[in-house]
Symmetry: C2
Subunit: 219 residues, 2 copies
């Protein structure tokens, strides 16, 4: 044990290639995501099913995760990190350009990160409590970030913190609902997809219209 702390090695990933262990771990994660692409939800996925899809024997699973629940929470973590980057890109778009560009950017993300969005959308509502709460928490972070963004816009600069939060959560709701609808009609035709995108754009535009009139009406 005492001979282990002589050098600053420690981190195995610095060694160039990813180790054999890491490869199987990733294979398990990707196998689970692949299996979730279709009809199934994570809670109806079996350990043996995932191992089979990953091309390893069931017992190998335990070298990497204590149980399916741990795999699930790992997937939430990694996936939400990916989505956070995606939404950050979309937010950057909307700051510099039009709302339409922001929606188009989101649509592109949904297409390229298809597996990740499938997983999150299913588990946000359908999953077990632990996973649902983990996702909710990440979404709350999104909402807070977006609220901060909004506070720097001229139309909403002197809104109360509460109202900014309300506005942000409504916008995120629209994004979630839109992503869901895009996932629902994948194989049919791109025409349906465009209709969904167009509707989302209109909804965002309508809300943008209301912003300058808020507080002046109301109570």
């Amino acid at each position: 044990m005492s001979e282990h702390d002589d050098a600053g090695r420690g981190d195995e990933s610095a060694d160039g290639r990813e180790s054999r262990g890491q490869r199987t771990r990733l294979a398990l994660q990707n196998a689970a995501l692949r299996l979730l692409e279709g009809d199934k939800s994570f809670s109806s996925l079996s350990l043996r099913e995932v191992a089979r899809e990953a091309g390893v024997v069931p017992t190998a699973f335990y070298r990497h995760f204590a149980d399916m629940k741990e795999l699930g929470l790992t997937l939430v973590d990694e996936t939400m990190h990916t989505l956070r980057d995606a939404l950050q890109a979309a937010r950057a778009q909307s700051r510099e350009n039009t709302l339409g560009d922001a929606v188009a950017s989101l649509a592109r993300q949904v297409q390229t990160q298809h597996l990740h969005f499938c997983f999150i959308a299913r588990e946000l509502y359908g999953g077990r409590s632990a996973m649902r709460q983990a996702i909710r928490h990440e979404i709350d972070l999104f909402v807070r970030e977006l609220a901060l963004d909004l506070s720097r816009h001229k139309e909403t600069e002197n809104w109360s913190a509460e109202d900014l939060q309300m506005m942000a959560s409504m916008l995120i709701n629209i994004l979630i609902a839109t992503a869901e609808q895009m996932l629902e009609a994948p194989t049919r035709r791109p025409q349906a997809e465009n209709a969904v995108i167009e509707t989302a754009e209109k909804q965002l535009r309508l809300i943008a219209l209301a912003a300058p009139h808020w507080k002046s009406a109301g109570r």
Copy 2:
């Protein structure tokens, strides 16, 4: 066989009390809803589990449903019928009174129809494809009904059919998201519930604010 069509009897429920068969059938349905109240989703529910909760032997299940899928679709049908009535009541409220009353009415419905809302919210996103599509279809009907309602309001009377649809689906989205959030924090405290309701109210009010300005801006 020929002696069966002599009288106009036929319908067994006209006999006063519900028959023994109907009682067990309802027991199975309610058992499933009860089991879904917690963490689980319908697809992770087993036939034996439902029979056990209903107090019958597993094989008795087959007297009433071909399999779990049939039970699921039956539950969707019945539950959506219940919810349709609930939303119709909420719509009537909003026509005659304020938006706040409409939201309060929805909140009351969520509390009294708690089990039904739990079931639908879970299965809308987390369920198997057949069930998800059945629910989506019913929600589409809600949206269409609401769009028709909107077309009779003065602020939106000369909007295009497309725009009415867009508006209606946004309103329904808010209702769904609000119901979901109310289900999420049930045991904690009523304070959280009130915050959710207040937010929903504000969101609806904000959209109402935008309505008169639509089309005058836009492209």
